[in-house]
Each structure stands twice: as C-alpha cells, then as structure tokens.
C-alpha cells in the first residue's frame, strides 16, 4: 500500500517537533534555530515547548515576538488550548490587554520588569519591551523563545540572550525582513551584521549550527507549494501536510463564462494560484490603477455571487476572502471598489503584506507587485513581500495585474555594481523569485487575459 505524501509530511512534521523539544528541553542547547515555511505551525510548536517547559518541567520561560498582536495571539492560544499555567504579560503602562484576554482572568499583567513573578511560568512580551526591561530583570529565565525571529534584527535580539542559557528562535526565512528605514550598506562590511535578521546573523557566525527545518505546511495546498517552494525557499524543502481533498473549492452558482469565471473555474479544478491579467498599461509606483482595483473587487464579488464552499468544511463568506496590495493608496482604491460592489470591507480585509504576515484566509486576491511597471524598482522586487502575498491562502489565490510583467522581468537590468563581500543581493533574489513564479504561471496556462475594452 502506498502512503499518501501528505501523511508522510505530517509524520515528518511531528518528528521535527520532537527534535525541537529534545534539543531545547533535554539537551538544553544554547541556541536552537527553527526554519519554518508558511503555515507550518510555528506557533503550535512554540505553544508545545512552553507547555512542556512550564507545566511538565517547571521551568521559567520568556517569549518574545515582534508585534504586540502576535503576543496577544500566543496568550490567547495558551489560555484556550492548555490547562491554566502562570502567564505574565509584560506590557508598557500605556497599553492594555485586549478585552477577550482580560476576560479569561488567566493572565497577569505586569508593567514593571522588576516586579515579574519568580518561579515557573511564562512571561510574554514584545521584543522591544523585553529589550528595555533587560536592565531591570532580577531573576533570569531557563529558556528564551522568539517567535517570528526573522522579523527581528540581531541588534534587538542580542541583548536578550543573557537572560537565558537556552534560546529557541523560530521563524520563516522567506518572508519580509525586519523593517530598517536607513541605508545599511556600511553595516554590511562590519564584523557583526547587527541589522540582519537574528537567525541569519547567528548562522553566519556559527555555520556549524544544525538548523531544524520544519518540513511541511499545514496551510498551503501542494499545488501552491510546488510553485512557492522553489521560488522562495530553495534552502528549505517542504511539502503540503494537507490532503488534496481537504482544500477544494466548490462554486455552487453557475458561471457567466467570462474571463473572471475562467480563472475561478481553474481554482475549482485544483489550480491554487492563478492570474487574471488586464491589457498592458504603465503606472508610476505610487499611481493608483483604478481599473485594476475594480477588477480585484469584481473577482471578490464574483466569488461571493457564485456561492463559494470549502468542500466538506463550510460555506464561505466575505470574511473568508482577503485582498493584498503592497501600496496603501491603491489598497484604498480596492476598498472603495469593493464597497461599490457591495462587498463589506470590514469582513473582506484589504491590507498591505506587512499586515498580512501571520494571517491566513481560505481565498486571497492579490495585486501583482510588478503590475503596470516597465522599470522595476527594488521595493517591487522584494521577494519577502511577494512571498507573503502568495502564501496566505488555504484554498486558492487569484493574482491580478497588468499584462507585460514577463516582458518587464526580461528587460530588467540588474544593478551589477560593487557590493560588500558576503552581502545578499536582495534585488537579484527578488528578480529570480518573480521570474520563477511568473514563468510557471505562464507555462502552466494559469494566466487568463481580459480583452481590451
């Protein structure tokens, strides 16, 4: 009997979790780095390590994440998924826990690091909050965990290391790097790359470190993995841990037979990444392409009008569809168009990739970052941004753009000037990833074109 690939992926996923638990809690290695593809269950893994450390071994654990919302999400999950354990939220005095967390009455809020309770338990904070608390913490931790570690610089993480003899860093190496607003070229030649994502700098300095690679995505269908993995995760092979039958889209209402329906029908036929292209037109980077915004809204509206169903799971509604636009102004145009199409924008969320990190929806509509550009800039080529946009969906994703992306990629002249030795050429990596995705979409006939007029 042949074992289904997704079952093997699940087994390998469990093995990886076991390895993390062993190396972190039994071997007590000083540094464990876990590389994770999108939707691999990073937070699930972090929860498991916290629960075993605190509830079974009686350890004192600190957990950091880049954003407050990420820490709230972790608190929520610990409160819901496990028996009560001592959870402390280290917050600045000007912040309040969300009401739902306050209502659980399971979380102790602490504004002063000097007053953190001693003994076993978990303290959760943003990395910045814990950073400023370092000088006040009197009792060290047994274990420091960092979730979404690739979103934090080495400069932010390094001062936290002294808080615990064991550090576990979990993150997705393919997504957006930490936000740094200044030119960092001068730092590229320094002995310490303090501006790099913390795991990347640690791996540069300690190349012998054995990284745990999570081998499976529980979110992305295998069809998407086949496109996304070679483009964005060449060092991180993974497969889908979901059965094809578990992630099928059904559209109950009849088709109108136009281009948009052809794209949606491709989704129901099992293609999970498809493209809808408008006739070529050129737009400046900040210029709003209203016709494209209307098309994105029309796709969302058509999905809803065709009564979408997650086969075997549930009927889908506006809240199950998300939209991503890398620019705030053109995102606002998509929102306007959605409202005109009677799609509620408080349910169907339109946001930038930065805000979509860590979130998922069954269906996504995304604007191609190179749409309408003849000359491609570094912002549009950033591979992490494109990776986030193509890895939020559970069932299917429709990419919307202007035709001509392939030509723009082919004509792009890469700046081949001098670069510091050892620096990563992000623009080149981005171009390569874009080329890989576009080439596959084109070659596999996943692009449908709306005729002029």
């Amino acid at each position: 009997m042949t074992i289904q690939p997704y079952l093997i992926a699940r087994q390998r996923s469990d093995d990886a979790q076991q390895e993390v638990l062993r190396r972190t809690l039994q071997e007590r290695e000083p540094l464990v780095i876990v590389d994770s593809p999108p939707g691999a269950g990073k937070t699930y893994l972090v929860e498991a390590v916290i629960a075993v450390a605190v509830q079974h071994l009686g350890l004192r654990v600190a957990v950091v994440a880049p954003r407050a919302e990420q820490t709230y999400d972790l608190m929520r999950r610990l409160a819901v998924n496990f028996d009560p354990m001592p959870i402390t939220a280290l917050l600045s005095a000007s912040r309040q826990l969300p009401d739902d967390l306050l209502l659980t009455q399971r979380i102790l809020v602490c504004n002063d690091a000097a007053a953190l309770p001693g003994g076993a338990g978990v303290t959760i904070a943003t990395a910045d909050k814990l950073l400023f608390a370092v000088t006040k913490i009197t009792q060290s931790f047994d274990l420091l965990i960092c979730d979404e570690a690739y979103q934090l610089t080495f400069a932010t993480m390094a001062p936290l290391f002294e808080l615990a003899p064991s550090v576990l860093l979990v993150g997705d190496p393919g997504q957006l790097p930490p936000l740094i607003t200044v030119d960092t070229e001068r730092f590229e030649t320094a002995r310490y790359r303090i501006h790099w994502p913390a795991p990347r700098e640690l791996l540069r300095r300690f190349p012998q470190l054995d990284v745990v690679r999570l081998p499976a995505s529980r979110r992305l269908p295998q069809d998407t993995v086949n496109l996304v993995q070679p483009a964005f995760y060449r060092q991180l092979p993974f497969s889908s841990a979901t059965a094809p039958a578990e992630q099928r889209l059904q559209l109950d209402a009849a088709t109108q037979g136009d281009t948009i329906d052809r794209a949606l029908d491709m989704l129901t036929d099992g293609a999970t990444l498809v493209g809808v292209l408008l006739p070529p037109a050129e737009f400046g980077r900040e210029q709003v392409d209203d016709e494209l915004a209307e098309t994105m809204a029309a796709i969302a509206a058509r999905l809803l009008s065709r009564q979408p169903r997650w086969e075997g799971v549930r009927q889908l509604s506006a809240g199950d569809i998300g939209a991503i636009d890398a620019h705030v102004a053109s995102g606002a145009a998509v929102r306007r168009s959605l409202r005109l199409s009677n799609v509620p924008t408080d349910a169907c969320i339109v946001e930038t990739p930065e805000l979509w990190q860590g979130q998922e929806r069954p269906l996504m509509v995304v604007k191609h970052t190179l749409s309408g550009q003849r000359q491609i800039g570094e912002f549009s080529l950033e591979s992490g941004r494109w990776c986030v946009m193509l890895s939020r969906h559970q069932i299917g994703c429709v990419i919307v753009g202007r035709d001509g992306v392939g030509d723009a990629l082919a004509e792009h002249r890469h700046a081949c000037g001098a670069r510091p030795i050892g620096s990563v050429d992000d623009a080149w990596e981005g171009w390569r990833a874009h080329q890989a995705i576009w080439g596959q979409l084109e070659a596999q006939g996943r692009l449908v074109r709306i005729a002029q007029g």
Binding site: L25, A51, L131, S166
Partner: protein, 466 residues
C-alpha cells in the same frame, strides 16, 4: 517627494522658464557666525588633491596647493589642517554649531577621501592625521538625515526647488544655478547647457588639466626650468580653485536668496547634529566595530531619519500636503468629544474624515499638529456607506490643553515626534557588553547542558493540549 509630484513640479518649472520652490521652509538652519567653506580640487582619475580653497564664504579664501600631488608630499595641506582644526575646536568649546559649506557631492567625495587617506596614515604628521579624522567625521555626518553641520549647496538647492531639467542634469551645480537665476536675454535651458560645459566636480577644467599635465610632464623630463613651470601650473590650479569657490559662493547666496522660512523643529535637528559632532571630537573620532557601538550607530541613524521626517511634515506645508495625499497625515473634523469632566481624563474624540488613503490603524499614535495634544487610535470604522471614515481617538496627553479640539472643528493630525529612547538603549547595550555572552561576541557556542529527562516530550505535549 513622490515621482508624480516631482514630475509635475519640473513641468511647471519648464513652463515658467525658471526653478520653482518645492518647499516653503528651509531644511537648513541659518548659518552660524563664523561659517566655514571648503573647495577641494582633485586630480582627474587620481585619488589625490591639487588644491584646497577654504575660509569664510563671505570673504576671500585661503588657497593651498601643490603642482604635483603624485609625489605624495601632503605637507602643503598643513595650513588648511590647522585652520579647520581651529574652527571646529573653537566651535565645540564655545558650544556653537559649526557649519561647513561644500559646493556639491563631488566635493564631499574628496573630503571623504582625505578622511580615508590621512586619518591613520603614519607617513604624515599628527596635524594631517587629525585633519583626516575631521574630514571623515564631516563625511560621516552627512549620512545622518537632517544633519546641519555640512551644507552641500547643490544637494540643498535640488531638494528645495524643481527645475525644468532632469534630476541628473541638476547634479551640475552651474546648470542648476542657471535655472534658479536665469541670465536675462537667454533661453534658460540654453544657459544651463552652456553652464554645464565648465566642470562643477571638484576638478580642473579640461584645458587647464591638459596644460597642467603638460607642464608636469615637461618638468619631469627636465625640458623646462622647474620654477617657471611650477609657477604656471600653480597659477592655473589656483585659478581653478577660485572658479569653484565662486560657484560655491553663488550657490550659497542662491540658497539663502530663496527666502524660505525657518521651521521650529530645525532647532532639534541642529542640537542633534552638534551633539554627534562634539561627541566624536571628544572621543577622538572612534569608528563603530563592536555590536554595542554598531547597534548604537544604527539607532542614531534611525532616530535622525524619524526626527527629520517629523520636522519635514511639521514645518513645511508642501511636505504636509504630500503626506496627507499618502495617508500619513489625517485631515478630520471632530465629530464628537466625550470628556465627562472638563480638563480631566478620560477624553475621547470621534474624528471623521473623507480621505481616501489612510495609514492609520488601531494602536496608531497621533499628535494634533502644532500642539502638545496626543492620542491613540482605538477604532477605525466606515460610515455613510463607506463614504467617510470615523476614528476613535483616546487623548493620552493634553486633556487640559486649550488647543484640545471641540466638535465641528477641522483638525490636522500627524505622527508624533519620535520618542528618543537612545539613552535607555545605551544602558541595555552596556549591559550586553558587560555580560560578554559568547552567542553575541564569541566564535564558538557555549556547551549544551543536557538534563536527565527520559520522558517522551512529544507525547507529553500532546497530552497537555486540551
């Protein structure tokens, strides 16, 4: 500035036949007294300096030069080194901001070159090493957004006016000046093209360069009596240095002649700039290399950028309009004010806007422009079938402030001045350095500390989960 706005401004300038301002306020605080200017002239295609003209830009410059910089005798620069050192030291001792004017980015490159070449060069004396350190310090300072010490005339003009030519043509200071002050009776584009024929790049004019090269070669071959060749070569170099000096003086006057206002936030940028330079001079021009100093430098650069962005929006109405367009500024009418006890917390404002682009989400902190009223957005919702957006803002500072807006009042909100957390961070980095954790500083990792735990932790994890 966005590409579209820049393009539109250039078209308007082209149409009107002269440069048009793209800011109403200056990004540079008024010159202190005394002010210093440096005009370097380098050898074409070589990393060596022919001449330096320097001094008060309102007066006659001193010129030091060499007819043969390839002999690597740098002692001709010693008078310059002494004057620069005196100027910077006097300013720092007096607690006054120094101001060094340069003509263009090419001049800055030469200053950076002097820094690299002489800062640690053991073949020159301490005066020139100090000059190298000071030049490096000046070049470093230009990497900080909003710095006020080094005024690069060409860059300043280009960031305050739009011309009817391309940005790359603006890089020629002579051509840029032709658009700002078009000569009467000529087409401005022709005047700019004519001006661009003379180099504005810290080097000799083509003919002058050819002649000096010729003279150098002939002296080297012994065909000319050395004194006359030297005299002629030196006269050419001096004349070229004075030509660039005149260009710098004209550019500086043109900048101050724009008649821009001085924004209130400039004083903060000035204080920052002065602190950085004084601190470096105090510490003998250190170079960050360790995690602590590198992290501090990154913090400094980031803070400077945030503070400059804040000052640009707070001080300048044109920048503010662009920020509004991009959704970084909120133009809203106060729909409701909930403050049960006047002058006391809690105080919540409901703001309503019809802006299309908004970069505001729950958690965003805002400041009422021109006041000390601050708040945090707690809710963003669409109203009137998506025609408007209402935002709930909890006032966190300024509940007693007379500028606290009332219902019906139109208000402008912007990102607040960035918090200066560098002192706290410095303490954290000091602690990090003291702990000397090998994961931060070492080349090898500390050993693992295995624990005698025989349990199957994966099974336990599953069991613990509800």
């Amino acid at each position: 500035m966005s590409t579209m706005i820049d393009l539109t401004a250039r078209l308007l300038a082209y149409q009107s036949g002269r440069a048009i301002p793209i800011r109403r306020s200056s990004a540079l605080i008024a010159d202190p007294s005394p002010t210093f200017a440096i005009v370097p002239i380098r050898m074409v295609a070589e990393q060596v300096v022919y001449a330096l003209a320097y001094g008060d830009p309102e007066g006659e410059p001193e010129v030091v030069l060499t007819w043969n910089p390839l002999d690597r005798d740098a002692s001709f620069m010693e008078p310059f080194a002494a004057t620069l050192d005196r100027y910077l030291s006097d300013c720092v001792i007096a607690g006054e901001m120094p101001r060094i004017w340069l003509a263009h980015a090419a001049a800055l490159e030469v200053i950076a070159l002097l820094g690299h070449r002489y800062r640690t060069n053991r073949s020159v004396g301490p005066e020139l090493q100090r000059m190298g350190a000071q030049c490096r310090l000046l070049a470093e300072e230009t990497t900080f957004a909003g710095q006020q010490i080094v005024a690069i005339a060409g860059s300043l003009l280009a960031s305050h006016v739009a011309t009817g030519q391309s940005p790359s043509e603006d890089l020629h200071l002579g051509a840029l000046l032709a658009w700002i002050d078009p000569p009467a009776g000529t087409v401005v584009a022709d005047a700019a093209a004519q001006a661009a024929l003379a180099p504005a790049a810290a080097m000799l004019d083509r003919a002058a360069d050819d002649r000096v090269e010729q003279l150098r070669a002939r002296v080297a071959r012994g065909r000319l009596r050395e004194p006359s060749a030297r005299v002629e070569a030196e006269a050419i170099i001096r004349e070229e240095a004075l030509r660039e000096w005149a260009l710098l003086v004209r550019a500086r006057r043109a900048f101050w002649g724009l008649g821009l206002t001085q924004g209130t936030e400039l004083t903060k940028l000035t204080a920052e700039s002065f602190k950085r330079v004084a601190w470096q001079i105090d510490r003998n021009y250190g170079n960050p290399a360790r995690p602590r100093s590198l992290a501090q430098r990154l913090d400094e650069l980031t803070y400077a950028k945030e503070l400059t962005a804040y000052a640009d929006v707070a001080d300048d109405p044109i920048n503010r309009a662009a920020a509004l367009n991009a959704g970084r500024v909120l133009d809203a009418v106060v729909f409701q004010r909930d403050q049960p006890r006047r002058g006391f917390n809690p105080c919540t404002l409901t703001l309503e806007t019809r802006q299309n682009a908004l970069r505001i989400r729950p958690g965003t902190q805002l400041q009422l422009r021109g006041s000390r009223v601050f708040g945090r957005i707690t809710e963003v919702r669409e109203v009137n079938a998506g025609q408007a957006t209402q935002l709930t803002l909890v006032v966190t500072n300024g509940v007693r402030n007379p500028q606290l807006p009332t219902p019906g009042q139109r208000t402008e909100w912007m990102e607040p001045e960035p918090a200066d957390l560098r002192y706290q961070k410095r303490q954290v980095y000091e602690r990090m350095a003291a702990s000397a954790d090998p994961r931060v500083f070492g080349d090898t990792l500390p050993l693992s500390r295995p624990q005698p735990i025989d349990d199957d932790l994966a099974t336990i994890a599953r069991r613990l989960r509800r």
